[in-house]
């Protein structure tokens, strides 16, 4: 998937003023969404490198250029990327964007059929709920037609409704990045194991800097749960920064809510943090031994997460040296028995 380069690369494309630089700034640089109003137009391809669970490169192309001029080495470019993200401005007339998209897909698919094509239907924050779905259906329909005309009906294209003013852009990027993590099934398996054994309702493995989640357990993702967990990462980091001692410690924070829900955060390897949502008591038994059940639950959590972390370290140690499938699945087996 990653071609010659060792890191997975995401290519960000779209017409001018579609919001590509804003997306980059908001997701990877923690810029306030409102500040992106003042971004200049991007003139040169910019590429940046982020090290999260995987090494991730994000390359942004200026919208106003034509990539089919021979001066751009478009062939090499498309060969080296894992995902092509095309940004469509949903508040603007999008027909020309769709034509442009179809052209790009046609070319890129020829060069590298393994690219994941992702389409962000962007700036949906000002559209009403009905209109959002209409727009999405229309865009999907037209893209399908265009690709059919070009004889490319086999190409998989995923669509996302996004806006930088809520968490939808993080959600979309999480899914895009996850497609580039070859170890994802193992991670999910490990998280499922953890969830089963610790009364966890939902857990995410977050990249601390970008609030993208690189993995989650297999229960469906509820956007609100995701938001709460992502915001908890912010709360933890912000409070820790205020009273930082010189010693660097592993972050850990636990918060209980009035209805008994516990939000649990532990720092893992490589700038990742595990955030879990726990409901220690069933509504039927929530009476007398309320407090003790939270405590015992946390003890079990701590123990299990220690094991999970070791598993994560092992998987990664070996993934670096021997990236063969069987080596990793052996590790996975060992981990499962450790539970």
């Amino acid at each position: 998937m990653d071609g010659l380069d060792s890191k997975a690369t995401i290519l960000l494309m779209g017409l001018r003023r579609g919001g590509k630089s804003s997306i980059c700034k908001v997701v990877f640089h923690n810029m306030q969404p409102l500040d992106t109003f003042y971004l200049e137009s991007t003139t040169n391809p910019t590429s940046e490198h982020f090290s999260t669970l995987i090494d991730l490169g994000v390359m942004e192309l200026p919208g106003q250029l034509n990539y089919f001029e021979p001066s751009y080495e478009s062939e090499n470019l498309f060969k080296s990327v894992g995902a092509l993200v095309y940004v469509i401005d949903s508040q603007d007339e999008y027909l020309s964007a769709l034509t442009n998209l179809a052209m790009i897909i046609e070319y890129a698919y020829k060069v590298n059929p393994r690219i994941n094509f992702e389409v962000l239907i962007h700036k949906v924050d000002s559209l009403s709920e009905d209109f959002k779905l209409d727009t999405q259906r229309d865009i999907m329909q037209r893209t399908g037609d265009e690709l059919l005309d070009l004889g490319l009906e086999g190409v998989q294209v995923s669509f996302y409704l996004t806006s930088i003013f809520d968490h939808s852009i993080y959600e979309a990027f999480s899914r895009i990045v996850q497609k580039l993590v070859p170890e994802l099934p193992f991670l999910e398996n490990m998280l499922d194991n953890l969830v089963q054994h610790s009364k966890i309702e939902k857990c995410f493995l977050f990249d601390i800097n970008s609030k993208i989640y690189v993995a989650t357990d297999s229960s469906p993702v509820d956007i609100q749960t995701y938001e709460v967990c992502a915001e908890f990462v912010d709360v933890t980091i912000d409070l820790q920064d205020l009273y930082k001692n010189n010693e660097e410690r592993e972050m850990k924070s636990v918060s209980t809510l009035v209805n008994g829900v516990v939000i649990y955060l532990r720092q893992m390897i490589r700038g990742l943090a595990l955030v879990a949502l726990i409901r220690p008591t069933d509504s039927s038994t929530a009476t007398v031994d309320y407090d003790t059940s939270i405590e015992s639950c946390l003890t079990v959590m701590d123990y299990n997460i220690d094991i999970f972390k070791k598993g994560l370290e092992n998987v990664w140690k070996h993934a670096k040296v021997l990236p063969e499938e069987n080596e990793r699945s052996v590790q996975q087996d060992q981990f499962q028995t450790a539970f």
Binding site: V228, D234, D238, L239, L242, Y243, K252, S253, L257, V261
Partner: protein, 299 residues
């Protein structure tokens, strides 16, 4: 409830200065972004807020269009300016008509002198985020000296002013100071807090009001520590965001333990304490037990 516990706060300023935005952020859990949707306030909007259990804040948000303003100073003057505890006057730093802004401020002071001469006066220079960083201080000083002059004439010599913006923590700082000036038994809280700090051997303890997360008081730690001077406001805004996000789980915040050395917990039905310990090897149970025991002193 004795009438002494009802406090009347006037929130005044010219149209568009950001009065209703402030009120919505501090007391109604709006985010700064949400305030764009607020329309103009018509006449006076009253809100009654319970603060620290037994205190009621009657906030009179006075719409700032000239028509209403004229009305306040003529027909309604005795109604508006009677029994006022606090006047909060908001100035838009971007305003084109500074002279007129100050004129209205002095007219309000004139009425106050007549109807409630004991009122405390606060001025907020609002929308500071629109001014360049290096110019902010200078602008604030100039404006304050002018306002000080104006208010001294009307018998309110000790004017307190704050530079504010809804986009950072400065708003919390200003409102904490304003609201704290209304709490009668402040010394009790202060001394209890000091004792608690000794018992826990804590680095710092801060007391927050629960609904608004405004700082009530803090144990002063001036022991040569270089801590962020804006930390109170930052904690307020961080915790308030967290409170809001916990609402998405249909619940509200109860406790938070971070790295075993920061404890945030309810102290009474309307107060939250924020405790920072020196070490992180104190057994958690013991700290929690101490907090539980302390609760009775903060009822």
């Amino acid at each position: 409830m004795s009438s002494n516990n009802r406090k009347k706060l006037l929130l005044m300023g010219r149209s568009g200065a950001g009065k209703s935005s402030m009120r919505s952020i501090i007391f109604s859990n709006y985010s700064a972004f949400d305030t764009r949707r607020l329309g103009a306030t018509i006449d006076v909007e009253h809100s009654h807020l319970r603060f620290l259990g037994n205190m009621t804040l009657n906030l009179w948000d006075c719409g700032g269009q000239d028509v209403f303003m004229e009305n306040y100073f003529t027909q309604q003057k005795d109604h508006i300016f009677q029994m006022v505890q606090v006047l909060i006057h908001v100035f838009d730093v971007e305003s084109q008509e500074v002279i007129r802004d100050i004129e209205i401020f002095t007219r309000a002071l004139k009425q106050l002198k007549k109807y409630s001469p004991d009122a405390k006066i606060f001025v907020l220079l609002h929308k500071m985020d629109l001014v360049q960083l290096d110019k902010r201080n200078e602008l604030f000083e100039i404006m304050m000296s002018k306002l000080q002059e104006a208010s001294a004439i009307y018998g309110f010599p000790d004017l307190v002013g704050f530079p504010t913006s809804i986009w950072d923590e400065s708003l919390y700082k200003a409102w904490s100071k304003i609201v704290c000036s209304l709490i009668p038994n402040m010394n009790v809280y202060q001394s209890n807090l000091k004792k608690l700090k000794q018992v826990l051997d804590a680095r710092e303890i801060i007391l927050f009001e629960k609904a608004t997360f405004l700082v009530v008081c803090s144990s002063n730690t001036s022991m040569g520590e270089s801590l962020d001077p804006k930390r109170f406001e930052k904690i307020s805004s961080v915790m308030k965001n967290f409170k809001q996000s916990s609402m998405k789980l249909k619940s509200s915040f109860k406790t938070l333990v971070l790295n075993d050395n920061i404890y945030v917990s309810e102290l009474s039905p309307n107060m939250i304490c924020f405790i920072v310990l020196h070490r992180n090897d104190d057994p958690q149970d013991m700290v929690l037990e101490n907090i539980k025991k302390a609760k009775q002193y903060f009822q």
